[in-house]
Amino acid sequence: MSCVNNQFRSVPVKVTTTDGFGNAFISKSTIDSSETSSSLTLSSKKLRDMVSLGKCEKKTAFMIPEFESFEIDVEVDGEKQRLQVESGVGDTIVKEEWRGEHVCNVFYPSTGGPFKVIIHTNGGVSLMQDARSQMLANLGYLVVEVGYNLPQYGQELIFLRQEMHLEYFEAIIRRALKHEKAYGEEVCFIGHSKGADLALFTSVACPGLVALTICSSGGFNAPVFLDSTYGDKRFPNAGRDLNDCLL
């Protein structure tokens, strides 16, 4: 790092994130050298911001692959460093697969325990999106990634269902709490997009099981696309009739 005339200079930074399909997402920025120490330290916040802002070098749909590995190449002031990003499965965390009646991937730390339980529902795309669950497991939780729209595992597409039965998620919570690595009698339920309303209304239906609900980017006072039901309770949806969406 150098200072010119007692002024900090602007240092170019380039971050290239390459996903499991070989798609490269590039982000360029600068950091004021006042943001660095004498050894040119790039903060993790700056790195995460840049990774998040990366633009794909070719036109592509934004696909969410089931997590395998990522490479992040960081170039600061012409010097390069590569980060190999792994899920930690088989190393720092354990993965279990539930299939059949419940379609879930379960992650928890390889050592220690028992662990508090997080139930996680992602958006409605037909993929098991494990990455956030793996990240949380690496932080010391037993995390159950719940599949609910996965025809590849025998589930009916949500677009073809009449309603979503919240008993499915309740049963998964109860099963998770009985796991030999689970701690406690309540869970945190985290949901995103379509998964947000599933988390929200399961939490309303089963207050004794869900101590904390964290949602993002979904329906707020009603489920999206199709009603949710729990016993004789019905939570009417605020979404266009899905038949209306079909060609």
């Binding site: 996903d19 660095t36 050894s39 330290t41 790039l42 993790s44 790195l47 995460r48 990774v51 998040s52 036109k59 934004f62 969410i64 692959p65 997590f67 990522f70 960081v74 600061v76 002031d77 010097e79 460093q81 590569r82 980060l83 190999q84 990003v85 792994e86 899920s87 720092t92 965390i93 990455a131 956030r132 793996q134 990240m135 497991a137 690496n138 997009s193 929200l200 209304f201 939490s203 309303v204 207050p207 869900v210 101590a211 609900t213 964290i214 949602c215 993002s216 980017s217 329906g219 707020f220 006072n221 009603a222 999206v224 605020a238 979404g239 266009r240 209306d244 969406c245 079909l246 060609l247």
Partner: protein, 135 residues
Amino acid sequence: MKLLDFAHNSEDGLMRMIGPHGLPGAMSLAYQYEDHPLYIADSYDSGYYLNPKALEISRSYPIPAPRKMLYFMTLDDPIVAPTREMMIAFMDEFKSKLPSGVEVEMLDAGHLYVMPDIPGNENSSNSLKSSFSLL
């Protein structure tokens, strides 16, 4: 009107949706209360506004009250609202009526604001000469 009436083929082969009157944000047209779209537009110039009828119906839906909830609503997110102004206006409907234990935070972010593949476990290669390090 079918939602896919708003779909258009693009040069890159992907099908994209364009809203009424050529406005962006068609995906959020999926939100409707009892057949009344939440976001409507009369013309390109007027842009979107909240449909009073849909809002009226929306107010009859109880605000869910889990024991404790943090809800992060994204502002630059055409999946949930065509514009950030519409998202703010819609959530303003609830701001003064939030049940105890429910907090709502507005995020300046898109739908997938957290890249789902951000490090679960990161290892820095030691093989490359480096005079900088990552915190």
